[in-house]
Symmetry: C2
Subunit: 553 residues, 2 copies
């Protein structure tokens, strides 16, 4: 029996599903409907084409409809928009924008891959000609054309998420002044505040005007063009163009109207096989609501990797013979921010705190490769783990080199429910151009392991001052006298770690000692010496490195 | 009770152990004996210092004896060589090269980290002044001084292993002509022959004279200097210097003489806690024999990462309280070869074949980052896996960028006994500068999964010609007519994949069809089409890309 399968949406999940279906079933009738002009385009490459880093517009087209049709024998219909589903009749109503007609199509199986749409704030002026989204090829063409044609000098980007930061870099790369307006106290919500501070540092060092805890209150305009963005703080920014990067929401309204179950976050609800509440309708990609793999909570993760995987799984489950389950999204993401890379996987501290999940965190600052090999760059790694058994809960990394590698190893470990002791054992590839004999991933796991086994007690910068006030604790800087003289934490006394064995008698045994150094290693050694000598001592996670970044950015 | 622990050797395992011991036990007496002048130096950095990539000699010293002594309160004795162990008396005899005296030291625990020594072939002339090893700082100084001082033009490197290739690159970097003489048919023994071919290609493209399946038969000399290396093949190479990189053997003779159990490969035998046959003596690093984590066989793996880990574990097990086990080495290694990186983890095909372990292999050629993002470079990945359940057995990768990242993810997966279906699910970090929505690791796992689930039947280049002869099979090139015209495999007929659905009737159903394309993807699609149409068909792993490299290098 020839199955007729209709796929709604032809970008990431949809294109991936169509190709897999054909490879699995040479005989099925496969119709792909795409409301836009283009299928399977490089969504994630759009900012880089705008910035000129990707020179050729053609590079954005992973597949053209003609080529994909030929290769996979698909019935591809662009500018064909599904406007209604009749699940009981197994039909859909389609509006063909080419011909301006409505028509009906029958399906045996329907696969909804119709993605998500940018959130557009309700502001007067938002519909003006120099306010842009970065969603598809026409948006991209419009920005590029506008920037080239006009004598634009200043861009305001509303939203400091992934797209907002990529666009900030690219627009700056073209030579414009760039403002980012972000309502919360930090960019990149998957990062914790102190890790985001490293991103703030990079943005500001690269000349970006970053407006945190502020929002666009109104857009002032002159005829068809916005001229100023008025912020809630009272600031007014002169703007030649405005780019919206606030986030996206699932395009689930057609599914909702068809009576399919919609999740509490607005995405289509699917079971582990990516089947909706109607057994003939599957859904994949940004339009669905998924389970967070670590917490089990409902989540929206509009990311290309999971979308492709989901498309592939839905295809298998529709054409058979074997059903494959989708276990959930862990939220691995990465972004280039000028010369830095920020990456994350799993749960962050904010989420763990909000959910009441017990956790501990460590920060380390290892080098990307052997410290003596040219190009080695220091990165900052934060990992979160169960304080009892050390199970990894999440990782965040920022640095100039080698960040992508380490987040991928943590991502694999996290998926496989590894604890920090397991991760210590990972035998990773070492030669001086690539790593150290203890890779940064191992190093972070060693640091965390020492916390789980209670060889060291940690304290974090955000609780230091209240802790000192409440416990009459002493703050010790374990770096050299020279380092200390170049800048230290107010109130800290200096006892270099190498002098500790001859000077510990200066210290009181009845007070808590809080020790820091530059990155946390010497202070850890100091803690081990002091605790074995009978002192009450805590190591300050992340050291002076983290302290200065938090306080300045 | 204060324990007295004597550590023999102060480089990787020894230094790592000493630091960990002190952190765990502030009160132990820890003596570190090192027969050379230096401790904790950057062994793996030596070639890069010789080549001038690492500019400062001081960078090679991770720790000086003075600094380490201060930091960790150690009794460090350089130029102190252990010459005998009396295990029953718990004493060692030491020769102090500084004073020229012998003395005896008692221990509660002895930790042997005395490493491995280069294998020196028995050739006349091997002791001449311009024949060098690359083992330690004095060797390094000697090579560097000789190359700078003399008007050397040609170096001959004997041995194509890790050190041999690193030295070849560095000596070439200085401007000399470089010959590599390697007895087997390939460099880098952990790679399989066809993967090594990519390394041969890079070496030859970079102007290295590579002499495979050949060996130095004799060294011709003039007074104190070798002038020519005479090869078994009859070739004679004029040589201004000769560098030996044949491999190393464990320095286990003292342990053997003390009656400790020595393994069949010549390394000290240890239990899972790194304890030798004497319960007061532990051993770690290059001197021990370990278990291969994947095969369970005995193995020697003189690698810095495992050595550091073993030192750390031995330290924990000596000072307590908890014993930690060492599970084995998987053999993850990586080497920079000019503009390419070659990396490997786990078992290779040669070993699997020799051990009679069932396996299947795939080759894929994905890009390091999104293909449209500048700098994307194609790599070649080979993975080996169980043909029944898909369990990963090993991975080999070569390419210009992003190789280190992918081998680390495979290394983690391999350690955790993952199968290729698990690896398909890995949610790795994707943004265009770093990867594709399907990372190369995922892609390799998808390709392997299709073999395990029998969606495609593979055949490898090394068995094509005999297969065609025996089975009267037909060879099909599924690339475009243009690609075919630029070069194809003799005897192949050209049917582009996109024409297959209209041309399959040209093909016989009673013969086997062997299909290739450039990298293996289009031929896989062709196989899916043909097999569903009732043809007997096999995909040729690695495609024309692999074919040309195997045949040229």
């Amino acid at each position: 029996m020839q199955k007729k399968i209709v796929i709604v949406g032809g970008v990431a999940a949809g294109a991936s599903a169509a190709a897999r279906m054909r490879r699995m079933d040479e005989h099925a009738k496969i119709v792909m409907l795409e409301r836009g002009d283009f299928i399977s385009f490089a969504n994630c490459g759009l900012p880089y084409y705008i910035g000129g880093v990707i020179a050729q517009r053609d590079s954005l087209f992973v597949q053209t409809p003609a080529a994909m049709k030929k290769r996979f024998a698909l019935d591809i219909r662009t500018k064909n928009e599904v406007i209604a589903i009749d699940a009981s009749a197994k039909t859909i109503t389609i509006y063909d924008h080419n011909l301006g007609i409505l028509y009906t199509e029958f399906y045996d199986y329907l696969l909804l891959c119709n993605g998500a749409s940018p959130i557009i704030p309700e502001l007067s002026g938002i519909d003006k000609q120099n306010v842009f989204l970065v969603r598809n090829i026409p948006d991209t063409d419009a920005i590029k054309e506008y920037v080239l044609r006009s004598s634009s000098q200043t861009a305001v980007i509303i939203g400091g998420g992934l797209i907002g930061l990529e666009m900030a870099e690219m627009i700056r790369h073209i030579g414009l002044n760039v403002h980012i307006v972000e309502a919360s106290s930090q960019v990149l919500p998957p990062l914790d505040q102190e890790m985001a501070a490293y991103v703030h540092k990079e943005l500001r060092n690269q000349g970006i005007d970053l407006h945190l805890q502020d929002k666009a209150d109104s857009l002032l305009y002159d005829n068809d063009f916005v001229t100023h963005v008025q912020l809630a703080s009272g600031k007014s920014i002169s703007a030649d163009l405005v780019i919206l990067g606030i986030g996206v929401k699932p395009n689930s309204s057609i599914a909702r109207e068809a009576g399919l179950r919609i999740g509490n976050l607005g995405g289509i609800e699917v079971d582990e096989f990516l089947r909706t509440s109607d057994p003939s309708i599957f859904a994949a990609g940004d339009v669905i609501q998924v389970k967070n793999l670590i917490s089990g909570s409902d989540a929206l993760f509009p990311l290309a990797g999971p979308a492709n995987r989901q498309g592939w799984i839905a295809a298998n489950n529709i054409v058979g013979p074997k059903m494959i389950s989708y276990k959930g999204v862990q939220g691995t993401s990465i972004v280039k921010v000028f010369d830095q890379t920020a990456a994350t996987t799993g749960l962050n501290e904010k989420t763990l705190k909000a959910m009441g999940i017990p956790y501990q965190a460590i920060h380390v600052h290892p080098n990307s490769s052997a410290s003596y090999y040219p190009g080695a760059a220091q990165m900052t790694i934060k990992i979160l783990f169960d304080p009892e058994d050390g199970r990894l809960l999440g990782a965040q990394i920022i640095g100039a080199r080698g960040v992508d590698k380490r987040i991928d190893v943590f991502a694999a470990a996290l998926r496989l429910k590894q604890n920090v002791f397991d991760i210590q054992e990972f035998e990773l590839a070492y030669a001086p151009p690539y790593s150290s004999a203890k890779d940064p991933v191992n190093l972070a796991a060693y640091a965390a392991g020492n916390v789980v086994t209670k060889q060291v007690d940690l304290i974090h910068w955000d609780s230091i001052s209240s802790y000192i006030d409440n416990n009459d604790a002493i703050l010790i800087d374990a770096r050299t006298a020279r380092e200390y003289s170049l800048g230290s934490v107010p109130g800290a006394i200096n006892i270099p770690v190498d002098e500790l064995r001859s000077r510990y008698e200066e210290l009181p045994k009845d007070k808590d000692l809080l020790v820091y150094c530059q990155v946390g290693l010497r202070s850890y050694i100091a803690c081990r010496i002091l605790s074995q000598l009978g002192f009450k001592v805590k190591n300050i996670s992340g050291g002076y490195n983290l302290y200065t970044v938090i306080n300045q950015y």
